[in-house]
Amino acid sequence: MSTHAIELETEYGVPTMALHTDIFHNVVQSVRQVKGLAEAPHAFVPQPVMGKSAAQLRAYVDGDDPVTGRPFMQEIIEGLTQDQSATSDGALPRTTPRLCEPANEEELHQTFADNHWTDYLPIILPTEERVADMLAHTAGAADTVVGRMQPTHNRGYWQYDVEKVAVNAVMAGCRPEYFPVVLALASSGVSARGSTSSSAAAMVIINGPVRAEIGLNSGIGAMGPYAHANATIGRAYGLLSQNLQGGSVAGTTFMGSQGNNYTYNSITFAENEERSPWQPLHVQKGFAAEASTVSVFYGLRSNSFCLGLRDYWREHVRDMLLGIEPNTPPVFLLDPITARLFAEREGFDTKEKLIHWAWQNATMPSARYFDLQLIQNYIYPRATFGEEPFAAMLAAGDEELIPMFREAEINIVTVGGEANGYWHIHGAHYRGTFSVDDWR
């Protein structure tokens, strides 16, 4: 809201007050600063607004701003009628020091923890020698800009170069030969430490020859802590996200209400291309089979799982899909045993055919769909202003079944070691596939 209020205030000349809930007061301060009007007028009410009665909300309005202790409406009136000061200067410097102040090992570990530069697991200190070893495994120069990242919309993009990525890869414990994969993840610009109050996590799927070259696991335990490359590359993605986007600090640059354990490693694994009956993910996304890539997904929160496919598998899979929050499309993560059941027994000889079936069968009555709060926040506004297919879905009768997802947003990946036919559906948005080879 600060962004909209500052836009209206400074670009359209309209005196504007922004209203927020108190839990976001640090975030609001940060956004106002980044948007160039640190003193933009604002007022707070208690969190939450959602779910409160009219009488309770009127009490918020009649009461005091919980942050300042001053009458809420008095702040609004003064904010619109009393002169406001402009931001004094550009505030933040555009650089950060290359080196930390020299100190002994114990002190440096404490410094990194105190600055929220770690995930509170032990790190490898990024000495110049270790960072140089990492840099030796890419053709990219240390000062080549890799990308930019922010914790969420309107927080301001921070920028980073190859050396900054290398520092974080060292900290995570990556071997130097993993570095092109880490650079590919950094180049995505997708943060694995998003600030969303929904506590979303990322997921990384690696395809192509690099899987064998660096020992990535696509078999037994691929999504768990059973391979050095999976473990440390996933961790590096998290660390580089929090440090290169300007932080992931609870209450300021991270607002995930409950947090999400997936964020420790961002579920990083290789697709089991060799045992899959289908095209690998990166080929589906337009890369050559011999290319090495990372595919990034974001928004992992909901999850359902099953064993195999039996007589009522259609009904079971529909039930699983109903367990996926409809604002986040499903990703099928299939052990090769189950992938082959779909392909060879049930006739889904391409991923696309199974995706089409899932799209057709994941349905919900319109009224129930549009009543979900996340749909209210992110889909309903688009539907009311005519955006398709949402407008047509909104026009459906209350009991009419409408698709929960868009077909093009559903994905399928084969992973696992055939110890059994267990499989998962995760809700996750596909954010793109990025070349590893560009960073070799």
Partner: protein
């Protein structure tokens, strides 16, 4: 794998690299002139369509009706989600209103 060098907690000082990225450029902006008074003015209540924000704005409108009857409030909802800029709405407010109250989010 990189080897952790332990046992250097004494006087041995290490030089390590800072892991933090480069902050965005910030351009300072100037706020709009304020109103002398709200009496007789039109204030747009801008619903950002997030977590039932319109319900709070309705109560802000009710407060003005009860306590400052000379103020006209007009409710307007963003044309899409709060994540998207909405120049059409901003133009409408600038053309027809005197001030705005935007809520609720960060």
């Amino acid at each position: 794998m990189n080897e952790i060098k332990r046992g250097t907690g004494g006087d041995t000082k290490l030089t390590v690299l800072n892991p933090v990225g480069y902050p965005p450029e910030i351009k300072a902006k100037t706020p709009a002139p304020r109103l002398d008074s709200l009496d007789g003015k039109i204030i747009y209540l801008v619903d950002c369509r997030f977590d039932d924000s319109i319900e709070l704005l309705k109560q802000v409108g009710a407060w003005f009706a009860d306590n400052m009857a000379g103020v006209e409030t007009r409710m307007i909802s963003l044309r899409s989600t709060y994540q998207i800029d909405d120049p059409e709405t901003w133009k409408e407010i600038a053309a027809n209103g005197d001030a705005a109250i935007v809520g609720v989010g960060h």
